[in-house]
Amino acid sequence: MNLIETRGLCYSYQGEKLALDHLDTAIPEGSITAFLGGNGAGKSTYFLNLNGVLTPDEGTVLFRGEPVDYHKKGIAALRRKVGIVFQDPNDQLFSASVLKDVSYGAYNLKLPEDEVKRRVSLAVKQTGIEEYLHAPTHALSFGQKKRVAIAGVLVMDPEVIILDEPTAGLDPSGVSEILNLMQKIKEENRVTFLIATHDIDLVPLYCDYAYVLDHGRVILSGTPKEIFAQKEILRQHHLRLPRISHLMEILSQKDHLSVSPAASTISQARRTIHEMLKEEKSKR
């Protein structure tokens, strides 16, 4: 079942040209869906519409098949279910106290204090920020702040977590730590993830589905395999293939090796190269 669906979603900032232009999307429950597209493609605007921070000009957002109610109560309920982790953690972490910041979302749900504390300690453990829970926010590194921001969303016990550029500005080990954390949360909390990213190589590794947006419109959608089969369209919209796919493309087209051009991760590439070698051997 689709957890989130949008139908003909339109949004424009102060009546300027459409930032979202009749966007139709469907996000299956329990999946990780990537949103690809250059700057200004409409990814952030789309996310803010899903969370009720922005109200669509036209079209509907459906959560579990129900259209979102834009009255105060409906919005509050939506925000509880859909958490956003913003690209720059400095925009999200408003308090100098890490503990206070993490607890903020749960506190706003008017839960009893014991429950808030329970959720905070769970989220802190899950994101591995125990060490700096009592340090001031401004003393944390970028990657640490990112984890704190994720913990601050986890305490609301959301069904969907949106990560806006989760890997931007992180070092290589920070990138894999954040992505592994995402998978852990997905499995342990059964959370559906939406991520906006410029890092195309992570899409075949971590994502079940992907959308390509440009000028507020859906250009492509489907599984990573389906998306990366459309390399011409990707290139027209300033995107590229994952490095491995590109290599496979060159090997099969220029060097006429019989590798599968659909291989887009290291393990898939390894498999297809092994198969090719086996074939060569048996031919001889």
């Binding site: 009720g52 308090s95 979302g105 706003n108 749900l109 504390k117 340090a135």
Partner: protein
């Protein structure tokens, strides 16, 4: 400012009830200023400096460095009290005759100046004790319980948090300008600084929108309240406050009856 902030978070007293520390430093501050006595000032400075050195784990050198910051202002301010113009022939500690009168330090003005210096340094010691041992977040927690309006405390918290963000941003911009020789000569420096401030304002304004969206998406409804840190009770500090204040007052009255 950054140094003091980081010292406060690493102090042994960081997680002691901020109320106790505020009481200790404010009561001693009032006693120190109220008595205006050299000995009381010295006592208060000694006690607060000692406590700061021990609990905030500061070296004496570093503490003296911090103490020397207000010292400059103090010297300039007390210079006119130390030195005045007297008629020729009056007995002075030191002086140079100029024409029919002399400029110098008399015994009385010397005492008066010392008294002022001691009082001021004692007061600085009190404030340093508070700021070197109390993280700002602790003070905010305290203010939230005080009759201060919620919006004022929230503003203080946001300002405190974003000072560091803006500071970082300004520092990066300045480095970038420096790398392109933006601060060579006064004219260039003024122009570069102007651009920096302008850009900083603009970016701060843009950031406002993003902060607001982020707050809204976590259910902001006009309040920035959330869980507070838990503090250990600071009962011993009330006792210390009482003892030091009593000793200071004792010295004050003794000094008065002797002189």
């Amino acid at each position: 400012m950054n140094q003091i902030d980081s010292i406060a978070y690493h102090s042994k007293l960081a997680w002691i009830d901020p109320k106790a520390k505020l009481c200790f430093s404010l009561v001693l501050l009032c006693v120190c200023i109220g008595c205006r006595s050299i000995l009381v000032g010295a006592l208060v400075l000694l006690v607060t400096a000692g406590a700061t050195l021990f609990f905030a784990r500061l070296s004496l050198r570093r503490y003296l460095h911090f103490l020397s910051i207000p010292l400059g202002f103090l010297l300039v301010g007390t210079l006119t009290i130390f030195i005045s113009v007297y008629p020729a022939g009056e007995k002075l500690l030191a002086g140079i005759p100029i024409g029919g009168s002399q400029v110098g330090i008399s015994a009385q003005s010397f005492l008066e100046g010392l008294r002022l210096c001691a009082t001021a340094l004692g007061a600085v010691g009190c404030m340093y004790f508070l700021s070197f041992n109390t993280p700002m977040t602790g003070l905010f927690a305290l203010f939230r319980k005080s009759p201060l309006p919620e919006v004022v405390v929230s503003l203080m918290e946001l300002i405190y948090r974003y000072i560091f963000v803006l500071w970082e941003e300004a520092a990066t911009m300045k480095t970038a300008q420096n790398a392109r020789l933006g601060y060579q000569g006064i004219r260039h420096s003024i122009a570069s600084f102007g651009t920096l401030v302008g850009t900083l304002f603009f970016r701060a304004y843009q950031r406002c929108d993003r902060i607001y969206s982020a707050l809204e998406s976590r259910g902001y409804q006009g309040s920035l309240e959330a869980l507070q840190e838990e503090y250990q009770p600071g009962k011993g500090w009330y006792g210390a406050t009482f003892l030091t204040a009593a000793a200071a007052l004792g010295i004050f009255f003794l000094e008065r009856s002797v002189l």
